[in-house]
């Protein structure tokens, strides 16, 4: 049974404090003047202890994926003779996030828990994570969650609406029911029902029908292959392993796993120098097809959640939703 209550901010924060003994609590946090241009702020996921610290009236520049899959993670410590796994984080994790980002977790689970093999690093972290979905009413200018079907949250431990002086809570998790206490209240978790951007993506897009389209050629020059779109994307799961060794003792070191980008040079380079998708437009096509074509062919649903962060981050102001629109038009779909 889910419990619906209301709490004022002070008592909500007290409950968070209690929870903090067992959980690391993450939410989108504002870092002043840390944005990518002068005098702008950065919102990214970090440990928080109060509801006021969490920023939900701005879109977080980065998604919570860095908690699921750190940008830089040690897989092994090694000597010449031995590989050793790092210790596991003991605390549990609670993440405050919006519905679109909650849907991205399903995509991560698909790759890192399933897809033939389960990844131990991800699995160990994942089983300790609970999600608190934060109601979202209108989204932002570049969002298209409704078109991607990610506006309605699924599989969460608790849902909240942040109001002026109170927090509305829908609690499904038994442990959290003991921690958060308040007055019973009837309400619904806010969801976006309409975005400014609407896309009507076909159920099936075949690679052979799109690979030679002229529209990719615009991105040959426009895209500078910086990979920012991949790094801010809540569903980009690619990584590369890198070995490092310590300068003090060159025989010991770490095997790390770092985020990788299909837009950045080197993603397909093989030893010996052969490379696939040299043109930046072909990389745009590869990413686009993964997000709205081939992931669905393999797993049954679109990878893109419609969060629009790639549009916000692109230094060349390339719009992914606009690219999708152009593609749909080429394929004879309904979008203009």
């Amino acid at each position: 049974m889910n419990l619906k209550i209301s709490m004022n901010n002070i008592s909500f924060n007290e409950s968070l404090k209690k929870l903090g003994k067992k959980y690391k609590i993450y939410g989108p946090k504002l870092f002043p003047f840390a944005g990518r241009t002068s005098d702008t702020d950065l919102v990214r996921y970090a440990e928080v202890s109060t509801i006021e610290e969490m920023v939900f009236d701005k879109k977080s520049d980065f998604s919570p994926k860095e908690i699921l899959l750190p940008q830089n993670e040690t897989m092994f410590y090694f000597t010449e003779k031995e590989y050793k796994e790092p210790d596991i984080e003991e605390k549990d994790t609670l993440i405050f996030l919006k519905s679109c980002d909650l849907h991205s977790v399903k995509r991560f689970d698909e790759i890192y828990l399933k897809n033939k093999f389960s990844d131990i690093y991800y699995a160990q972290r994942r089983e300790k994570i609970k999600f608190v979905v934060v109601g979202c009413k209108t989204g932002f200018d570049s969002c298209f969650c409704v078109s991607m079907g990610t506006n309605i949250p699924e599989n969460y431990s608790m849902g909240i609406n942040i109001r002026d002086s109170e927090v509305e809570l829908e609690i499904l998790d038994e442990e959290l029911k003991d921690i958060f206490n308040g007055e019973e209240k009837k309400f619904k978790i806010d969801t976006v029902t309409e975005n400014k951007i609407e896309l009507n993506i076909p159920n099936e897009i075949n690679l052979e029908d799109v690979i030679d389209l002229k529209l990719w050629r615009e991105y040959d020059k426009r895209c500078v292959a910086c990979g920012k779109c991949n790094f801010v994307c809540p569903t980009c799961t690619c990584t590369t392993t890198q070995d490092i060794f310590y300068t003090e003792n060159e025989n010991t070191g770490e095997r790390k796993r770092v985020w990788a980008s299909c837009h950045v040079d080197g993603f397909t380079d093989m030893a010996g120098g052969h490379e696939f998708r040299k043109k930046h437009g072909d990389r745009m096509r590869f990413k686009t097809m993964h997000k709205i074509g081939d992931f669905k062919k393999r797993f049954g649903y679109h990878m893109c959640t419609g969060c629009g962060r790639c549009d916000d981050a692109c230094p060349e102001h390339i719009s992914f939703s606009n690219c999708i629109k152009k593609l749909i038009a080429e394929l004879g779909g309904e979008n203009e």
Partner: protein, 272 residues
């Protein structure tokens, strides 16, 4: 829970020079029974990284596995400093390998391999040659850049005794000497030398650089070989080999999981 990325240490038994830049590493291995022809292993070297390398041969009774390593990258460069008795870290085998029992058994098997593409098919050729596996007939076209690049000369001499084998180099130079009887030209130019009378009985395996596989497959199509009887083995960048890192993905297919061996019907649609 099992850590799929954990490599295990194995002892290098011997190292043999195949060409100046390609050496054969024979390594102790405890999971030879799991290996299928054409599969690959992640070779893992602390401080340097990992690289997917085809199993070029293996022996279940003696418990070893062999790699043909070309000196072309970070990991392979370091391998050339190692010697017999040193330790190599491995994980695998990975990938599907060739569907021998399902598709090639008792058929007329044609194998076309170019350069280091001979690596992935060698264990299968050996198995047929040594009669561990039965086919109606095996014919081979092996192509190399020049005579200095010819791999597995001893094996070729052996294979030649019982099988129709065309050994070809792109261009013959003056004074080129080889006891094996060399032809000149690309592998596609020698398809006519094969016995293609009963196409229904045929299965064609093509392994080599992408451009070679493409034109060789087209050549067999021209000779009336249906797509479903042609098989290719792909090579792509891989970091994890277990369907996570994303580097080897083409369309919805992960080369590390569903490949590296593909039927041509599928393979020709795998567009990068």
């Amino acid at each position: 829970m099992n850590n799929i990325y954990m490599p295990k240490p194995y002892k290098i038994l011997s190292i043999k020079k195949a060409t100046n830049i390609e050496w054969l590493f024979k390594v102790e291995f405890d999971k030879t029974e799991e290996i299928n022809y054409g599969q690959f292993i992640q070779i893992s070297i602390p401080k340097v990284g990992e690289a997917p390398i085809s199993v070029t041969d293996f022996n279940i009774e003696e418990g070893w596995i062999e790699f043909l390593i070309r000196k072309v990258g970070k990991v392979t460069d370091i391998l050339f400093y190692l010697k017999a008795g040193d330790t190599l870290f491995l994980r695998g085998p990975y990938g599907n390998g060739f569907p021998f029992d399902e598709k090639y058994k008792d058929k007329h098997l044609v194998i076309v391999a170019g350069g280091s593409g001979c690596g992935p098919v060698r264990s299968m050729i050996n198995a047929v040659h040594k009669k561990f596996k039965s086919v109606k007939k095996m014919e081979l076209i092996l192509g190399f850049k020049d005579t200095n690049c010819i791999l597995f000369e001893d094996d070729i001499a052996d294979w030649q005794k019982e099988n129709n084998l065309v050994l070809t180099v792109d261009k013959l130079c003056e004074g080129d000497a080889c006891d094996l009887g060399i032809s000149e030209g690309l592998v596609t130019q020698h398809v006519d030398k094969l016995d293609l009378t009963d196409i229904n009985d045929l299965e064609v395996v093509i392994v080599g650089p992408p451009i070679m596989m493409k034109f060789a497959a087209m050549e067999f199509e021209k000779h009336g070989v249906p797509e479903e009887k042609i098989w290719l083995s792909f090579e792509r960048k891989m970091s994890c080999a277990v369907g996570k890192c994303g580097h080897c993905k083409i369309d919805e297919t992960y080369v590390c999981l569903e490949g590296p061996v593909f039927n041509y019907i599928k393979g020709k649609k795998l567009l990068d």
